[in-house]
């Protein structure tokens, strides 16, 4: 097509810049729209004042302390979920894999709830303990689900999805059980479980940010290996990938991402499924583009979903997990139908 040795590189830059701009617009909308609408110029000025440490004017508190952390957190959570989706889809060579469907979100949820109830008295502990519990829950779940799905030899995709859904149910039931036992914290936990960003605040942002960076750094440095994994494990090994080690690294990185998202926002489904899929349809399967573009795309999707959750029934707020499920469920069905139609 073109004689240039790197036709992909400029395209990649353009795509990522466009997504970044889209994210900025979505975030401005997210901060600006609400019970009291705020114009983009006011938002920028308020943020400027906060960064410069100047005195606040009335209205700054709503923007800087309430809406901004929530929008930033939504973006971070969306990025975590979509990146995790990309990683698991590559690992299992299947576009239907996603942390929610694989049961990891439920596992992280149970881990987080247990951590939450154990440390109910010491709020300070939660920031370390809840994500740790979520991570542990996510890792144990994915290891168990993969083992379960490969009982009859090679890992087959139908078993993987079925095992994920089944384990998801069991873990959710166990979560409910824990909640019944610790009645006093039930309401907040229930709301958290449905997936929401109502509790968003800057400390949550500071907790999720390093987890996102830690979870996505290694995969971003391994995009070629992720591409090779799509050719099958044997072929990836033939072409020089240390497959067993790589799988463990990616499973762990994905679990960090899922744990970060679940710890602050509960169970939010389908973002990790939809976003990578749409990005792949638009930009192709190359992880050098797919992974960063999905992270940005997930951020956009999540900011918009949260905006809908906050405003559509205002002043009542619906958990954002309901919004993503209402859109994502049918999307998943469409994917299944389309996939079967191809065969």
């Amino acid at each position: 097509m073109t004689a240039a040795p790197h036709p992909g590189r400029t395209r990649r830059t353009v795509v990522l810049a466009a997504l970044l701009a889209l994210l900025a617009v979505a975030m401005l909308a997210g901060v600006g729209l609400g019970a009291v609408p705020v114009g983009p110029a006011d938002i920028v000025r308020a943020i400027g004042r906060a960064l410069a440490g100047e005195a606040r004017v009335p209205g700054d508190a709503v923007i800087v302390d309430i809406r901004l952390p929530r929008v930033v957190l939504a973006a971070l959570v969306g990025a975590c979920l979509a990146s995790a989706g990309v990683l698991y889809q590559a690992l299992f060579r299947n576009p239907l894999a996603d942390p929610y469907i694989l049961g990891m979100s439920a596992g992280a949820g149970l881990g987080a709830v247990i951590a939450l109830t154990l440390t109910a008295s010491a709020t300070a502990l939660r920031f370390g303990v809840v994500p740790a519990g979520a991570f542990l829950g996510a890792v144990l779940t994915i290891v168990f689900v993969v083992r379960l799905a490969s009982l009859r030899g090679a890992l087959d995709v139908t078993s993987l999805l079925l095992a994920g859904v089944a384990i998801s149910y069991v873990l959710s039931a166990m979560t409910s059980f824990v909640m019944v036992f610790f009645r006093e914290s039930m309401t907040s936990v229930v709301f958290w479980m449905m997936g929401g960003l109502t509790a968003a605040s800057w400390p949550y942002v500071w907790m999720v940010t390093p987890m996102l960076l830690a979870g996505i750094a290694v995969p971003l440095l391994s995009t070629r290996e992720l591409n090779l994994m799509l050719l099958g494990e044997d072929r990836a090994a033939e072409l020089g990938v240390d497959v067993e080690r790589f799988k463990r690294v990616i499973l762990a990185a994905g679990a960090v991402l899922v744990a970060a998202a679940v710890a602050v926002s509960g169970l939010i489904g389908f973002v990790g499924l939809m976003t990578p899929h749409m990005v792949r349809l638009a930009l192709g399967p190359d992880h050098r583009v797919l992974l960063p573009a999905s992270a940005l795309g997930g951020a956009v999707v999540m900011v918009l979903a949260d905006l809908v959750a906050r405003t559509v029934l205002a002043p009542v707020e619906i958990p954002v997990g309901i919004v993503t499920a209402l859109v994502g469920g049918p999307f998943f069905v469409w994917l299944l139908v389309r996939r079967n139609g191809h065969r």
């Binding site: 097509m1 040795p5 790197h6 590189r9 060579r93 440095l221 391994s222 070629r224 290996e225 591409n227 090779l228 799509l230 050719l231 099958g232 044997d234 072929r235 090994a237 033939e238 072409l239 020089g240 990938v241 240390d242 497959v243 192709g284 399967p285 190359d286």
Partner: protein, 417 residues
């Protein structure tokens, strides 16, 4: 030549299963070694052990003298390229991107593809006739195209050892030759090639040495004519076959005649077939399969009919190549005719050299069946053969159409009991 790939008493398999034990084989730079053997014998497992997909539970495999165990997957992938049996492409990378993936083991973590990488990819795609597919998504390509792309991908690794696992099984005739000619060329330029073949003729034609994998063991590698013998084919592949030379390439050529399991036990009766020059090969096989105890008259060595009679294990009088049916041979044929329930004379031309085959039938004329009658154009003996045939016909010999079914129908009257 220096040894590139060596199995040193290597036992290979999978967790809990040993597939091939104590394999010993050395593949040197510049040679193509073919692995042959029945399905499931472990040919692919031997290859997979080199790339870590199968396990080496004992002994070792070395690459240019270095044990595989001491190489990282990347180091190994810089030395060994593989063309698998089946290539899966479920994601829509372009063919060019697919081939460039072969550069992975040469690239550092943060290193981008260089102009040298892309031009190398173009070169290997040109050599495998895939350059015209460069911008096509691989998930839309045919199995044959994918297989050639996998070869291009493997060559992009710039390996010194190439492993082919039935790499041409999905290719048409033209591309099969193209790929194997290219492999031969690569070997001649110094690559060491270890290839699994199902097609024995291809194996013989393109390999310097062949080794048989069967019964959990790897046989010694030797030049094709020493390995592809009727005995080996019967023992390992359970097939009786004619082993000859390909008339064009001179390579060993195998024509399977029948499966060991297909040899019927029950005898319908005995039939002597008079043939030669390939006129009786199909007839003897069919009669044998139908359950007749078949014997053949005097046949010259080097004649297809003689090879088939030998492969089938039929009693016959073997003459030297171009030798005459002398009185001794004629007497032997007459003895066979005397004990046979019937005699079929195939559509064989008669000249001075094989008249004896016809003369030997004088005593059994009523039990003789001429396939396709006896027409003048079969007589190259100056009238003598025609006279003998007329004599036999006068004494009761039958004439039937030349097709095998007619012959089988005619035989029923002699052998029905």
């Amino acid at each position: 030549m220096s040894v590139r790939l060596a199995y040193e008493a290597a036992t290979v398999g999978y967790p809990g299963v040993e597939v091939v034990s104590s394999a010993r084989l050395r593949v040197a730079a510049g040679e193509v070694v073919g692995l042959i053997g029945p399905n499931g014998a472990g040919k692919s497992t031997l290859l997979r052990a080199v790339t870590g997909s199968a396990r080496i539970s004992d002994g070792e495999v070395t690459l240019s003298g270095r044990s595989l165990a001491g190489l990282t997957p990347r180091e190994r992938a810089r030395r060994v390229g593989v063309v698998p049996q089946q290539v899966s492409a479920t994601f829509s990378f372009t063919a060019r991107e697919f081939v460039l993936m072969g550069r992975h083991p040469h690239l550092g973590r943060l290193q981008q593809l260089s102009a040298a990488d892309t031009s190398l990819a173009e070169e290997v795609m040109a050599r495998t006739d895939t350059l015209r597919l460069a911008e096509e998504p691989v998930d839309t390509l045919s199995g044959g195209d994918l297989q050639r792309l996998a070869l291009a991908q493997a060559l992009a690794q710039e390996p010194e050892v190439l492993l082919l696992d039935e790499a041409t099984s999905h290719l048409d005739l033209n591309h099969r030759m193209q790929v194997l000619d290219l492999v031969r060329e690569l070997a001649d330029a110094g690559m060491a090639v270890l290839a699994v073949f199902h097609d024995l003729d291809l194996a013989a034609r393109y390999s310097d040495r062949l080794a048989v994998v069967a019964g959990g063991a790897l046989g010694e590698a030797a030049p094709p004519p020493a390995v592809l013998t009727a005995g080996m084919l019967s023992e390992v592949f359970r097939v009786r076959a004619v082993v000859g030379a390909d008339p064009v390439t001179g390579a060993v050529s195998v024509t399977p005649v029948l499966r060991e399991e297909a040899v019927p036990a029950a005898g319908l009766g005995s039939v002597l077939v008079i043939g030669g020059s390939g006129t009786a090969a199909a007839l003897m096989r069919r009669l044998h399969l139908a359950g007749y105890a078949v014997s053949a008259g005097a046949l010259n060595r080097g004649d297809v009919d003689q090879a088939v009679a030998a492969a089938l294990g039929l009693e016959h009088v073997a003459l030297p190549a171009f030798g005459e049916v002398d009185p001794r041979a004629e007497a032997a044929v007459a003895r066979m005719a005397a004990t046979a329930d019937a005699v079929v004379v195939a559509d064989v031309p008669f000249g001075r050299a094989n008249l004896g085959n016809l003369r030997a039938l004088a005593e059994v004329a009523p039990r003789v069946v001429f396939a396709d009658g006896f027409r003048g154009e079969r007589d190259f003996s100056g009238g003598e053969a025609a006279r003998l045939a007329e004599g036999l016909a006068a004494a009761g010999a039958l004439s039937v159409p030349g097709d095998i079914d007619s012959v089988l129908a005619a035989l029923e009257r002699f052998t029905a009991r």
